[in-house]
C-alpha cells in the first residue's frame, strides 16, 4: 500500500504526519521523502544515511565531426534546449526534458547522450524504519525526474509513506500519481483552506481515495471543517495547537517518541486510512 501525504500549502504539517506515521508503522513501513526541493523528514527520523547515489538526466551532446548543421534537432525541440546558430549547435542542458527527439531526428547520428546532475538519493535506516529521500541539486529546476527516481525505492512488501512536496503542479502530481491513498494535511486558516481546495481538485483528477488531517486544529476558523463535510472528505485526525508540540518540532523531535497517546492516535489514523 502506498500513502502520499500532501497539502497544497507548505508548512501545514505534512512532514510531521508522515514521519510520525512511519515511526509507528515501524518495520511494516518505509518512508520516502519526495519533497526533494526541501527534504526535511530525515531531520526528524534521523536515519543513518549509509547509501547515496547521484541521479542524472540525459541531455544531448553534439559530435561536431558528424553534424551537418541541418537544424532538425532545433526544429523538433519544444523546449529551446538545442539550437543552431550559423555553424554552431548550442545546447542548453538545463532546459532539456530528456524527450530524446533530437537524437531520434538527427540524420547523421551526431547527437549522443550527455548527462545533467539532478541530485542525490540517500537511503538508510533508523532502527527498523526504512528511509529514502531525494535531494535536488541546488540550481536544478526540474524536480519531477528525481521524485520519480525516489519512488523506485517503493517495495511491495511494505506500507510506503510518501512525504509529498507542496503545491498543486507537476512535482506534487509526480508524488501522488498511482498511489493508493492521499492523506491531506491542512490547518484551519484561509490560506490552509484555499490551498487544500486546490490540492483536493488535483487528487480528484487523479481519481485517488483521500482523507484529511487537520493540524493546529484549534487555530483559525471552522471553514475547513465545513468544506470537508460538503466534499465528503473524511477527517481522520485532528492535532491541536500546542506550544509544546511546536517547540519539540523545532528541535526535531517526533510527537510519538515519548507519548503513548500519540502513538495510539497515529496507529488509529493508519487503521482509518485502511478502511476509507
Amino acid at each position: 500500500m502506498i500513502i502520499s501525504v500532501a497539502s497544497g500549502k507548505g508548512g501545514t504539517g505534512k512532514t510531521t504526519v508522515s514521519t510520525n506515521l512511519a515511526y509507528v508503522l515501524g518495520a511494516k513501513g518505509q518512508l520516502l521523502d519526495c519533497d526533494v526541493e526541501e527534504p526535511n523528514a530525515h531531520l526528524f527520523i534521523k536515519p543513518e544515511l549509509a547509501e547515496s547515489r547521484t541521479v542524472y538526466a540525459t541531455v544531448p551532446e553534439v559530435d561536431v565531426e558528424k553534424c551537418n548543421y541541418c537544424g532538425k534537432c532545433a526544429e523538433i525541440c519544444q523546449f529551446s534546449a538545442i539550437t543552431l546558430v550559423g555553424e554552431t549547435v548550442l545546447t542548453f542542458p538545463q532546459l532539456c526534458h530528456d524527450c530524446g527527439g533530437c537524437k531520434e531526428v538527427c540524420p547523421e547520428n551526431a547527437i549522443f547522450d550527455g548527462k545533467r546532475e539532478l541530485g542525490q538519493i540517500e537511503s538508510g535506516n533508523k532502527g527498523v524504519i526504512e528511509f529514502h529521500h531525494g535531494r535536488l541539486r541546488i540550481g536544478e529546476a526540474m524536480s519531477p525526474p528525481l521524485i520519480k527516481e525516489v519512488r523506485t525505492c517503493t517495495r511491495d512488501d511494505k506500507i510506503t509513506i510518501i512525504d509529498a512536496p507542496p503545491g498543486t503542479s507537476c512535482p506534487v502530481i509526480t508524488a501522488m500519481k498511482d498511489v493508493d491513498f492521499v492523506l491531506m494535511v491542512t490547518e484551519p486558516t484561509p490560506f490552509g483552506l484555499h490551498d487544500l481546495k486546490l490540492a483536493v481538485e488535483a487528487v480528484k483528477k487523479l481519481g485517488i481515495g483521500r482523507g484529511l488531517v487537520i493540524n493546529r486544529a484549534d487555530a483559525g476558523d471552522d471553514k475547513v471543517r465545513e468544506y470537508a463535510k460538503q466534499e465528503g472528505l473524511p477527517i481522520l485526525m485532528e492535532i491541536p495547537f500546542d506550544r509544546k508540540i511546536a517547540e519539540s518540532y523545532s528541535r526535531g523531535q517526533l510527537m510519538v517518541e515519548d507519548s503513548g497517546e500519540w502513538q495510539e492516535a497515529f496507529l488509529q489514523l493508519f487503521e482509518r486510512i485502511k478502511t476509507n
Binding site: 526541501e38 531531520l43 526528524f44 523538433i76 524527450c99 486558516t189 490560506f191 517547540e247
Partner: protein
C-alpha cells in the same frame, strides 16, 4: 526600479503574511504574487480584478482517432508513458515534447497549445497587484512566474513606481529559480526549527548561485530562542544581513481570518512592531540601495 523578493525555502514560515504587511508599509510600489501554484496573497489583499488573461504554457499531443492506424510508433518514441493503450494521450504525463507528432507516419497527432492558467492585474487597497492562478495539476509554473514578474515590471515602469514586492514560492526548484533572476535583493523568512534552518540554508545557496544579495528575518523566534541565536550567528558569519525577529503571535492567524494584514489587525502588537522595524531595515539596507542599481537606471 527595485524588486524585493520574499522567499523561505520551507513553506508556512510566514512569507505571505510578512509580504502583505510590507505592502501596507511601502510607498510607490506594485505587488506581485509569484507563488502561482498555491497563491494566497490575494486572500489578504482582496484584489479587484481589472484585467484577466490566459496563460499559454506549453503544448499537449492530441491523437486524431479517425486518422490513427494504431501502428504504435508513438508509444515507442514517448519517453513519458503518455500514450495509453487506447491511443489516448494521458494529459498528466504528456510534456508536450512533440516527438510523437513529428514521427507519426500518418500525421495523426497534432500538438495543441495548452492554456495552463490565468493571470490578473488587480487593484487593492495597497496599490496594484499582478497575480496568477496555475491550472490544477499543470506544469510550467516557472514560465508563469516569469510572466507575472514581467507584467508587474511593465506596470511599474508605466506608472513610475519605484518598487516591486514579490511574494515568492516555496522550495528551490523551477518557480523559485524563475523568481530570482534579476531581483535587487531577497528576504528569506525562516523559523527557528530544524527544518526552517535546513531549508533556509538551501535557499540561500540558491540565491548566492544567482548572485542575488540575501537578507534574513526570523519569524516565530520565541518557539526556540536558542536556535534563533544559532541562526543569527550562522548568517552573520556568512556576511548576510540580519533584519530582525518576529515573535510567535496568534494575531497573524486572526488577521488572516479577517482578510487583513497583521498591521491592520494588531498594529500595536509586539509582532506588528517587529515587522515595522524589519521593513525599515530593508529600506535602509545596502542590499536594496546598491550602486549597480544607479548604474542600471
Amino acid at each position: 526600479m527595485r524588486e524585493l523578493l520574499v522567499i523561505s525555502g520551507k513553506g508556512g514560515t510566514g512569507k505571505t503574511s510578512l509580504t502583505a504587511a510590507f505592502a501596507s508599509l511601502a510607498d510607490n510600489k506594485i505587488l506581485c504574487d509569484a507563488d502561482v501554484d498555491a497563491a494566497d496573497l490575494h486572500l489578504l489583499m482582496t484584489p479587484e480584478i481589472k484585467e484577466t488573461a490566459d496563460f499559454k504554457g506549453g503544448s499537449q499531443a492530441y491523437i486524431k482517432r479517425e486518422v490513427c492506424i494504431q501502428c504504435g510508433l508513438c508509444m515507442e518514441f514517448c519517453k513519458f508513458d503518455a500514450i495509453g493503450w487506447e491511443f489516448v494521450v494521458d494529459k498528466l504525463n504528456c510534456e508536450g515534447c512533440g516527438v510523437c507528432h513529428y514521427f507519426c507516419p500518418e500525421k495523426a497527432i497534432e500538438l495543441w497549445e495548452k492554456t495552463c492558467g490565468e493571470w490578473f492585474v488587480s487593484s487593492t487597497r495597497f496599490g496594484s497587484m499582478v497575480h496568477a492562478r496555475l491550472g490544477i495539476a499543470e506544469e510550467n509554473s516557472g514560465k508563469l512566474v516569469t510572466l507575472v514578474r514581467q507584467e508587474a515590471k511593465k506596470i511599474a515602469e508605466k506608472k513610475g513606481l519605484e518598487l516591486i514586492i514579490t511574494d515568492g514560492p516555496p522550495g528551490v526548484g523551477c518557480p523559485v529559480i524563475a523568481s530570482l533572476g534579476g531581483v535587487t535583493a531577497v528576504v528569506v523568512v525562516t523559523e527557528p526549527t530544524v527544518s526552517g534552518i535546513h531549508d533556509m540554508e538551501r535557499v540561500i545557496r540558491l540565491a548566492e548561485n544567482f548572485k542575488v544579495p540575501v537578507m534574513v528575518c526570523i519569524n516565530k523566534y520565541d518557539l526556540n530562542p536558542e536556535q534563533t541565536e544559532s541562526i543569527i550567528r550562522t548568517i552573520e558569519k556568512k556576511g548576510i544581513t540580519f533584519l530582525g525577529k518576529v515573535p510567535y503571535d496568534p494575531a497573524f492567524t486572526q488577521a488572516m481570518v479577517d482578510g487583513k494584514t497583521v498591521l491592520e489587525y494588531a498594529p500595536e502588537s509586539d509582532a506588528g512592531k517587529a515587522v515595522v522595524e524589519i521593513w525599515n531595515r530593508i529600506l535602509r539596507s545596502p542590499e536594496m540601495n546598491t550602486i549597480t542599481e544607479l548604474i542600471l537606471n
